[in-house]
Amino acid sequence: MAKKKMTKALRDFWYGKPHSAEEGGRRLGEILEDKTQLYKHREWRGVKDTFYYMYMIWGYNYVHMVTDILKYSNNPIDFFKGTWRYRWMGQTYLPVIHWFDRGLQGMRGEALRASAWHYRAMVSASIQQICNFFNGDTRLHGGKQNDAYWHTFLAKETTCGTLFYPWMDAGYQYVPIEMIPYFVTCHVNSHTVLNYIDAAQSIGLPGDPCPMCQAEAGIYVLDDVPDCAPFVITCNEACDGSVGTAILQDWFIDKPLFALPLPMQFDDPLVKQYCMREIEECWKFIEEQTGVPFDFDCMVKYLERQNKLQRDEWEKWDVAAKTDYYPVNGVAQALFRIFSTQYGIQGDFWEENSEKVKKIMYKCVEKKINPFPQTRHRVIAWSCAPLYYSNWCTWAYNCWGLNTIINMDSLMFDMEFRTDSYEHMLEDMATYHMWAPMRRMAVGGMHHIFELWDYMERFNCDMVAMYDQLQCKGMQGVHGLFEDEFRKRNVKAFWMPHALPDCRTVSRAEIRGYINDYMTTVMHEEPLDPSLLDFDDSMTW
């Protein structure tokens, strides 16, 4: 008996404790502090994976956070000045490693390695964007409009970064305004955004529109946006709440502004023609403001790189769809896609890390390694995810064996650009522009919303995680239609109510509660790790 115990202890030390309770599992919920979810001690993943995590994720990313600043910043002192000046910067940059911890909890072997490389690319891209903000920010340079200021494009975060490729070789950088102050903060530190939501309501704006629009307006109300570019391009994000935000931005930015709308109706050839003309007008506006002409060759160069990245993703999706050897977890896959499509090609971090992930993936295929061996259900996640709990899928795999194979967020920009002629490129640009985040398959019409059934089949998924953004009037309108279709098609699906960035409206614990209820009362299943069923993470980042 003692020998058996000793053998198990040695095995647990060398390989880490097994996943499920039946095998005397690891009980991940017990290593976290109540409320804050800081680690009492980090997870022992076995000798190899623990030290991989320590050196290649924890240590490697701390070091590279510093080297990235040195690489992308014109003057590293600006980075510290910016941290002191902007709340979203100071509060967000600090817990980055904890963001890795949440997304990679319980991961082992190839799943741990591949998912971490996606995170690395996102951190590197974010630091580049932060440096782009600060390099030209007049607030950090005594009101001086320096060279970086005159070489920065500022655009609303859902304006696609591809639009600005023609000026990249002329030394221009594109910054999606709210991507770092709003979007990234929600994932990394969900406390920060609450200040901005409250600020928007404090000036008398109603609290019931989409909290994303409120937060985006709130960063201006609190005067927390760098003044880093001579002009700005806004869009409506295909939502009336965002039109309101853009009006406030026009007021508070007080610079030449071009409004580039996303047509509310699309898949219509006439509307597409209109959209193509709007894009060309936007390019003329940039030419007029910068005095630098549109460079088609430069556009083609960057679009080719983006096409390559898209083809890489198709390779990965193919493995995800047809085999059990896809090593990227749900949150790492979805965020990598959103980050990379919104930033566009502005560095080599997407391509570099994508190659690393492909290498790991093909190792899994060749050696038949299943990186998620406890998968009970292959899940497709549909509609817009809760930003403050994007790592729910890591929890769902650890607790219930729900493996999120693909997300709607990943599929939104499922296309290549034609680069053989200006006309083809412009036509594809219009399509890409109209397939904006939260648009094509959210408020983009029944045809696209119900593409869910095709993708479910294509990715061999047997369950749907249906996000329910309570303050999105567009998606609320189709709730009942989904209910009907789920019943008609006999599809296993659970709803996940949330309020996009606002963790106060529906807490993470409530979201877990909905999934737990579904898995016990409808699926009659037992959790893999019961310690993760019910815990208080109300104060966590």
Binding site: L38, K40, H41, G59, D223, F252
Partner: protein, 75 residues
């Protein structure tokens, strides 16, 4: 004598590296960086941001005619 000195040097180097890694491991394993950031650094920064003097943007006039309308396809 010389060999002994080189040996001592490498032993010392190994000792220093081992100690540094042991300290790093303790910080890593017990999430001391996270605890420091959550309990000390973030509250300090929050206090700073809460007390920061900010421009009241509502006092800015909204000049809708300040810039041209940027219409390029109108003949």
């Amino acid at each position: 004598m010389c060999k002994c000195k080189i040996g001592k040097f490498f032993l010392k180097l190994f000792g220093i590296l081992f100690a540094a890694n042991a300290v790093l491991f303790v910080v890593f394993f017990f999430d001391l960086d996270g605890k420091l950031l959550f309990n000390v650094v973030e509250p300090f920064l929050k206090k700073h941001y809460d007390n920061m003097k900010r421009k009241d943007v509502l006092n800015m006039p909204y000049d809708t005619d300040k810039f041209p309308k940027y219409k390029y396809d109108e003949k």
